[in-house]
Subunit: 305 residues, 2 copies
């Protein structure tokens, strides 16, 4: 009855585009996803990609749209800037920029930046973070958002104190597709089993302080000398990269509350690796988190109705 | 007068093919190089590529050819196997395999393997190693052979005790060509200045024990937040990767004699990084080393002319 869309929400990354229509309780009324991420949309035109997706879902012509992700990068649709940390994560909701080359009310959320110490940025994950914090009413702890560029965010007294970026996911993709290791992994690269012994072995090896770049080639060595199959190779490569990420984050201890924002296989791999490091975590679904973040930003921007 | 070729020597890698004609003192009489490495030769035919190159240099029809490198890999021309370490490096010269599908006397040298501890292989570098050891009459020390897959070889009492492989060069190529960092480096990726402060800073950061995969993204962070240019980005990425390699090789100390087998820019970058770690090294030209290794193997195989 009352199931009318009030907002469209979009998570618009480098290689993926996702759009949801939601009602005034945040329930999903329609969803579409495609490979028209920033890279493809730069060619096709951002406005065209967005309007075509809204058409598919028969969205009203005046439905406002809230976007997060790489569409707001310098090389995206329109630069949405960054909110500098330390910062209250809710600050991003006040920074949504209106897109100027489209009639519809479309806004893009800013990312987060870190200028003290290692310079760092995030774009898209800040909205997942917002959703995760909202859902859990968190004020302190570590939030891990795995992915192409895995983010580790330290929340202190309700503020984002600092964050780091790990190239884990991108390295896995590059190494399994383009490097000498691709001969060892083949199609098995797409489905890593977190219960394969090679995954645990590799994680433990990294936790013991072995250097990552000196171990990567062992995936090939094991294939040539020990006839390791593709599944073992994929589990080993994944374990080395995720293990190096966890081993490198020295500031955590068993007492740190850890929240993992991830879905599917990614969630299983990280949960397993964190457990091997003696860390337990609460897991929140990444898709749900980003929608909740976008929905909150929409409510604060357009005052609900 | 006596300048007749007695052997052809070839360093046949994954992406590069090089061929030299040498006289009975090992002097180079002719040289040709191309992009017909293993990957291209799998398409064109190894015998055809080799005979065409020999033709270019007007080599006699009965000139024997000694090859090292990926042409001897399982996916190459003919599998030349491995000599298992610990081993006398001269052992590889006795393992040259005759190629069966060509009339000319063509042989390929085996690689080295390590089955204890981390499984590891090398193919091509063992011949550079042979040449370097021969030239210096070495019996003990560390030999570093930088490249796509950088090799660190520990020589003890004249034997290869063990070796490690670092994916440094391949990671640099993948990250600068295909990753998010490519936007920061651009064409500057091809020419890194070892005297750029960002190179030293990055090496020192890795030597202080920072985790590599947590620092790679800072190349992008520095571009977005601090307007770092392409030269700085390239120096930083190179310094992080080479620094991680040196930091990870914990078994070395200032007393270890280090020999660096490298040419050109690669030699300059590694010398600088090793110096930052307090290590001095003797440098040997990589091209010269591989020719000397191939020449020795030819002499031992065909008993001089």
């Amino acid at each position: 009855m009352n199931r009318l869309p009030v907002y469209a929400l979009s998570d618009w990354g480098t290689s993926r585009f996702r759009l949801w229509l939601v009602d005034n309780d945040g329930n999903v009324l329609g969803e579409t996803r495609s490979d028209d991420g920033m890279d493809a949309a730069r060619q096709k035109g951002f406005a065209r990609v967005l309007e075509a997706a809204l058409d598919t879902l028969q969205a009203p012509a005046d439905l406002p749209v809230m976007i997060c992700g790489m569409a707001g990068a310098r090389q995206g649709w329109q630069d949405a800037g960054y909110v500098a940390t330390p910062a209250d994560v809710y600050a991003i909701t006040g920074g949504a920029r209106r897109i100027t080359d489209i009639a519809r009310d479309v806004r893009i959320l800013p990312g987060l930046s870190r200028t003290e110490g290692t310079p760092n940025v995030m774009r898209g994950e800040e909205t997942q973070l917002l959703g995760a914090i909202l859902e859990q009413q968190m004020r302190d702890g570590l939030i891990i958002l795995p992915g192409t560029h895995s983010k580790w965010v330290w929340l202190v007294n309700g503020r984002v104190e600092r964050f780091d970026t790990w190239l884990t996911g991108e390295l896995y993709a590059l190494l399994s597709r383009y490097s000498i290791l691709r001969y060892s992994l083949g199609d098995a690269a797409e489905s890593v089993d977190e219960n394969h012994p090679a995954f645990s072995d590799a994680v433990m090896q990294m936790l013991s302080g072995q250097p990552l770049t000196g171990q990567l080639f062992s995936v090939r060595g094991a294939m040539l000398l020990k006839n390791s199959g593709p599944d073992e190779s994929a589990a080993r490569l994944s374990g080395l990269l995720i293990g190096a990420e966890i081993a490198g984050a020295s500031a955590i201890s068993g007492d740190t509350p850890v929240t993992l924002v991830a879905s599917g296989a990614m969630g299983r791999l990280y949960s397993k690796a964190l457990a091997l490091a003696g860390l337990s975590c609460i897991q929140i679904d990444a898709d749900r988190a980003v929608r909740q973040g976008l929905f909150l930003a929409s409510q604060l921007t357009w005052c609900g109705k």
